[in-house]
Symmetry: C2
Subunit: 314 residues, 2 copies
């Protein structure tokens, strides 16, 4: 496969593994990059020196391009950026914040820069900041998300029409046929998160991986819209959030319930009761843990067979 | 195009025009059927004798198959069903209720019966009731919707895997490329609602059609989840609903605000302030009013060109 995204990143397949907190360290990122996709280290859950270690290990584990995902609201953002530049990371995905300042900085250091958005408005702003490509993330995606609740099906054509840089679709993409759907809608590549959490290479706790396998339709919800919208499993921790809403939520109550440790407690430490478990709607389609390389292979095989089948209907 | 749905309905293209309240009378249904798709008369906003008139006029206006959509919670449902059977309507789509009783009745009178669902659970129930096909409707769809908030992108593969009867995708499908995306996800056909409201043939008020053209991303919201979830434009009437929620909503307050006349007031009488305006997220993609026949033609042309382009990437 050969298009604007495979050329931009110098990769074989237009499949990007999302940089996810508590899931995507060097093991997952290098496994995906070795399989012909683009692996991303999720820096959001790493101290700067932990990130440096992951980058260095990733360089040893793969000779292919890989990247880092940085949430721009990270408190010591300048420290993270320093590590990224010092380690000559070739590709940086930024999210959750204003790309203006850091896009320029990263590009001046030779990085390819991509920004994640969930609306047309922010896609245009990111393009104005000079990013090389845009990730558009639909309502069904796991983790942090937009307030407009626009789904991948409707968001991708809208953003495609508005921008001229390459477009990567995210949210609800857990198989080759869904990848084909996203490409039909106008995407040049897909970013896949949830499906790569259920791999042996993901650093998430095995309890969390098992919960993903058990998840059925309706198992996740987009909540905390007043603070920062996030999609998570409806586990007992979410039930507590819901109770606060039922009682007429105050921001203070919600914030004190959340704290900063909830995501780590759930996804990394494996506390399925008290922890926050961020995952997308696509979890309902996941019924096994398998190596990242197999997932990439299956995506490509089923993408191709699906495309062939569609050609036959005509 | 030739597949299980074009054969089931004896139509040229697997495009079904959704039966919508205050929008799809005989003019729209016959225009779509004459263009090679399947037109549906939306009975939800019609008295039984009004429905009879629409069916009779539709028979004169097209020699092609057409159908009727019936919300099963309609108060005088037995009267509507009587008219449908007396008039020998060949195809009936049922929605919003339990298909058990009426599927059997309609099939015993020779009708092809399709039921609309928004979850795997209700898809399986409908299949058990002997329906001939299922419509699966994602979160982005206009009008009444499910409580799980599952998007078309994630819902279609889940339902496809669970059922053996043909599957029609609905929600977020406003163009040929989106139709191709739905077919890639596993659908055998698409049901298109919002796009067909912005036609001269739709019986909706022209004020409403103009609002659809003006709608941008984020213009709609799925609300009233405690009563019956419905997606509508965020007009002043919705702002009133939102105010009640902000004040700690009571069911009584919400119900009294709604009344039964709000949908008619908005979509048919053209009151953009006090009326309820049901439409899908795809409204943001609609920028013109054009004849239904042109829409069908464009769907097929852009479906084919999109499929050709995708074949070239490989």
């Amino acid at each position: 496969m050969n298009n604007s995204i495979t050329q931009l990143f110098d990769i074989k397949y237009p499949i990007i593994q999302a940089g996810m907190v508590w899931a995507s360290g060097w093991r997952l990122a290098s496994a995906v990059s070795n399989s012909g996709g683009l692996g991303l280290i999720g820096a959001g859950s790493m101290y700067p020196e932990v990130l440096r270690e992951h980058i260095q290990k990733c360089k040893v584990a793969t000779k292919n391009p890989f990247g880092v995902n940085v949430p721009l609201l990270y408190p010591d953002i300048d420290q993270l950026m320093k590590v990224i530049v010092e380690e000559h990371v070739p590709i940086v995905f930024t999210a959750a914040g204003n790309p203006k300042l850091w896009s320029k900085y990263l590009k001046s250091h030779g990085c390819i820069v991509i920004h994640v958005v969930s609306s047309v408005k922010f896609a245009l702003k990111a393009q104005d900041c000079g990013v090389d490509a845009i990730v558009a993330e639909g309502f069904e995606a796991g983790g942090h998300n937009g307030i407009e609740e626009t789904t991948t099906m409707t968001l991708i054509p809208l953003i495609k029409k508005s921008i001229h840089v390459p477009l990567i679709a995210a949210g609800g993409i857990g198989s080759g046929p869904a990848m084909l759907a996203a490409m039909a809608l106008g995407a040049d590549a897909v970013q896949v998160g949830s499906r790569f959490v259920a791999t042996p290479e993901a650093s998430s706790h095995s309890n969390f991986k098992q919960e993903i396998i058990k998840a059925e339709q309706g198992a996740t919800v987009l909540t905390l819209k007043e603070i920062t919208p996030v999609r998570m499993l409806k586990n007992p921790f979410y039930q507590k959030i819901d109770q606060i809403y039922q009682g007429g939520a105050s921001l203070e109550e919600l914030k004190s319930l959340l704290g900063r440790g909830r995501a780590k407690k759930g996804m990394f430490d494996g506390d399925m009761i008290e922890g926050e478990l961020e995952i997308g709607q696509v979890a309902a389609q996941i019924d096994s843990i398998k190596p990242a390389s197999e997932i990439v292979k299956e995506f490509i095989n089923t993408y191709n067979s699906c495309l062939n089948n569609l050609s036959k209907i005509n």
